[in-house]
Point group: C2
Chain length 555, copies 2
């Protein structure tokens, strides 16, 4: 590298800005230029929905830096409203166009960073050009949504991923009535369906209309509304529509420059974020990376990876001997919808099934802290592991509080290569306001080990084979008020040991309870008495109003 | 083991009850007897302070199980108010005394579990027998404290460990004026002193009187009060006194039976919780265990380890081929005092210094979630690592929210053997209400790697050598309003690059700022310009009112 190397950064938000800032710390005499197509750099893109709903009150909270502040703090030359139109790799230069003047110029580079990001998908459907159909990527988009919305209006949000869910919540906060449409049969499709149920119930609790398993076929513009025609034939009328069905990488520039792209059009990079041209790096939503658990190619368009990849690239440019590789991504994600949070890290069951990989799983119900301390609220935790080794593959959690904590601990455990055995003895912080003597994560470890040790057979579906005896071990009032589907024998747990003669020893038994704990206890008793018994994992939860903090009912 | 083995459990709270419960799941036909000296079993001992202050309103929330419920759920024979007075190891039997009748009897065992716990220390000081000097171990103690306290009274709490701190908070909630006395020069002595400063400030903010570096010499009883004479000569008058200066293991029974005890009187056990007699197990506050990081002998009298040790013992008794060893303890602990939380896991700096072990450390200031999202509150995180390998040895955190989360992630990272490099790329859950694109834990990893890569020299004390140029890079108003101690040159960060001629290149420089971030940035600039420069780590924080959520001030 020359003594005053030129770094050109294309894209001025998460990955690009992180790269430029780190580069400056490492090389005071580098010439660092950052160009950004939009009018803003280094803004808080994950915060955009919260300004729409008024939760973030001041717009300037989202504009974290300006070209002037970046000059002052980092001695960066920042050009906004400036587009890269061509990379001349042979001569190591990029042609840029200043959008306001229309002027173009060439910028040379020693190292080039591509951080173009990804654009919201806008499928080519009839009627899509209606100005009331909006997407959300940057502050300008946000301003358009703010201007287009008012209390009392009807909104349709298409796509129930995290942006769709956040927009749904925030439009509701602003006083709009919101309809949410999702192609899959659940909201937050990253999760396994049962783990998304609480989110869905929370949305309905706030009068959000939910249409699952359906998509938009076409839009029809009327003077006073946009009419959304769904594939099913269902019609939703809206004053405005938010499209949040995913993103596509902005990689035309990279493609035109002949850089290697992946199957879905993302830039291929090595472990130091280098593209197929060793002087060109790329990071953020436009690149593909490797799955940190199993090594597959994946795309994780999220702020955390983008920021850290940008830093890795700068390290490799300016201190190549000491740079540490980007280790890949897990796809850790979390969403809050009203009072409910749901999070995921690593592999879901549906991804494992689709990839035809072996796995085992348990789901446990617990609380975020000791139930005897006020404010205990239910929490459901699912873990997945590789059957032979016991190594963790993924985790999901949903509930009201402490969801981020469990996901963070489990994402750490996953990248550490921990097994379910290791979860049993994590020594997590316990005082009554914060946790339990045995945390939900310990309990998940115990439950997984019980399966691995052959202490319990496990099912997640209730059998409809009449040969199978379904034994509901909840109390009689509970079993009557919220009956288990099918033909069921109710034997309240405390009476089970004395009631074995009510069961046919020659027929299989499935035990059922509210939370999956008593059914396990019952299965242990019956197994030791010689029964062929299976526990219904995860519990019926039929009697639970998760919104009213409740002590676990005793059987 | 016989087909119907006899398990006798001495002690019916955390470790004993966990052992008995797990034993029942594993062996339906075992005869399991649990004896407990007190009137209650399986109560929530960590919750006791919160009933005193009324935060837990119903006493029966703390009485998690009763002998009747344990009979019904687990088929346990529970004897309360029943004391073990002698172990006859040769004949595998224990003599017990029923405290109400005075009758004694022998109980035989195949396996014996000792879970006697630990008693609050009550040093033999003059005046100690005053009935108004109370300790807290069980529900009876709690009832005594509740009966002895009323709004408007004066309390003195001796010992500022977590029980002392929780009692201080709760007595304040009840309306007492509270004086807290601690022998060490800080509250929560498990922490390194600077990390306890926020707790102390929070206590003072609530008008708690704090006396540090002082202890009780004697008590003097008067009709209307107890007079506490401190070693310093200071006198504190109280209507009641809580002694919370530590605990001692209740191991007289084990000692009399000839079981091996450790240096401080704790029962020595192997990795399956077996004592020196292979048919006798022990767990909980009465045993010593190994430090999970460095392997030293340690004692961790906490609920989490006790519960998990009890389970390990039961596994080893009833499924020895599949039992997994107890891996040792970290000493993870957390305390909440009013709005502030402070937590620790693994080794502190003072323990490392006392053990003469090599370590390095950084302290970073951040927030629990994105600062642009409402409610961001400051958080301080300290990590310690082994210099050669970079392996994490310990962590401490203090702040208002998200403290338990960071401690839990770091305790997981420690037991996984992770290095500070590994912290850089933990992929933690990020949405604005939950975290930041770069979490405090990532930042701590970055800061540690910057040290290890030689990018920055670091000091935690301001020099008073007049040769050293102390450069305060905060804004002029801030530097004037909250001056850095000593002779200081104020060069606001944005002007630093243009102000290098204000500094003598032949004299060392220490850079100083509010949070430790700008001083690092400044040190990078100066180092690359050839200065011998050191950054003051952790920042002055002089201008921070941590109680008012604040955006990090820009320089």
């Amino acid at each position: 590298m020359p003594s005053s190397p030129k770094l050109l950064v294309i894209g001025g938000v998460a990955a690009g800005a992180s790269c430029a800032a780190r580069a400056r710390r490492l090389c005071e005499n580098a010439q660092i230029t950052m160009i950004e197509r939009g009018p803003d750099v280094s803004f808080a893109n994950c915060g955009l929905p919260y300004f729409v709903g008024g939760e973030i009150a001041a717009r300037d909270m989202l504009a974290v830096q300006t070209p002037a502040s970046l000059k002052s703090l980092l001695n960066l030359d920042v050009h906004t409203r400036c587009e890269a139109i061509r990379i001349d790799r042979a001569n190591k230069r990029v042609e840029i166009r200043h959008l306001d003047s229309g002027n173009t110029e060439w910028q040379s580079y020693d190292k080039l960073m591509l951080a173009p990001g990804a654009s919201p998908l806008r499928p080519n459907l009839p009627g899509i050009d209606d100005k009331r159909i909006l997407t959300l990527r940057n502050l300008e988009d946000m301003d358009r949504i703010v201007a287009a919305t008012d209390s009392g209006m009807r909104a349709v949000v298409i796509g129930a991923g995290f942006i769709g869910l956040e927009m749904t919540e925030q439009l509701h906060h602003k006083g709009l009535s919101v309809q949410l449409v999702e192609l899959q049969q659940q909201v937050f499709p990253q999760l396994d369906a049962p783990m998304a149920a609480l989110l869905e119930s929370e949305l309905r609790h706030h009068d959000i209309g939910i249409t699952l398993g359906d998509g938009v076929a076409r839009f029809e513009s009327a003077e006073n509304h946009v009419r959304c025609h769904l594939t099913s034939g269902k019609i939703l009328d809206a004053d405005m529509v938010v499209l949040s069905i995913g993103v596509k990488p902005d990689t035309e520039l990279a493609r035109a420059a002949g850089l290697t792209l992946g199957a879905r059009g993302h830039i291929v990079v090595d472990e130091f974020q280098r593209t197929s041209d060793p002087d060109i790096y790329a990071a953020g939503d436009a690149v593909e990376t490797i799955d940190r658990v199993l090594g597959d190619k994946i795309v994780v368009p999220m702020g955390g990876p983008a920021n850290r990849q940008g830093r890795v690239a700068a390290d490799h440019m300016f201190m190549p001997g000491k740079a540490r590789p980007y280790p890949g991504s897990l796809g850790t994600a979390i969403v809050r919808v009203f009072a409910v949070a749901a999070g995921i890290t690593g592999w879901s069951e549906k991804r494992l099934m689709a990839a035809n990989r072996a796995y085992e799983t348990v789901t446990i119900n617990d609380h975020q802290h000791a139930t005897y301390y006020p404010g205990a609220k239910p929490l459901t935790l699912k873990i997945l592991w590789e059957p032979e080794s016991g190594q963790l593959l993924g985790a999901q959690a949903t509930g009201f509080e402490g969801i981020d904590k469990r996901i963070d601990v489990l994402s750490t455990a996953i990248v550490a290569g921990m097994t379910v055995e290791d979860l049993c003895h994590l020594e997590l912080a316990y005082a009554p306001p914060f946790g339990s003597a045995k945390d939900a994560i310990n309990l998940a470890g115990f439950a997984a080990c019980n399966r691995r040790d052959g202490l319990v057979n496990h099912t997640t579906t209730l059998p409809n084979d009449p040969q199978v005896q379904i034994v509901d071990v909840r109390s009689k009032p509970l079993a009557e008020a919220f009956p288990t589907p099918g033909s069921v024998i109710n034997i309240p747990f405390p009476t089970l040991r004395a009631s074995l003669d009510k069961l046919d020893r020659n027929r299989p038994v499935v035990t059922v309870c509210a939370f999956g704990k008593m059914s396990y206890f019952s299965a242990r008793i019956l197994a030791q008495q010689g029964f062929n018994v299976t526990s219904f994992s995860g519990g019926l939860k039929a009697n639970i109003d998760p919104r009213s903090p409740a002590k676990m009912p005793t059987p």
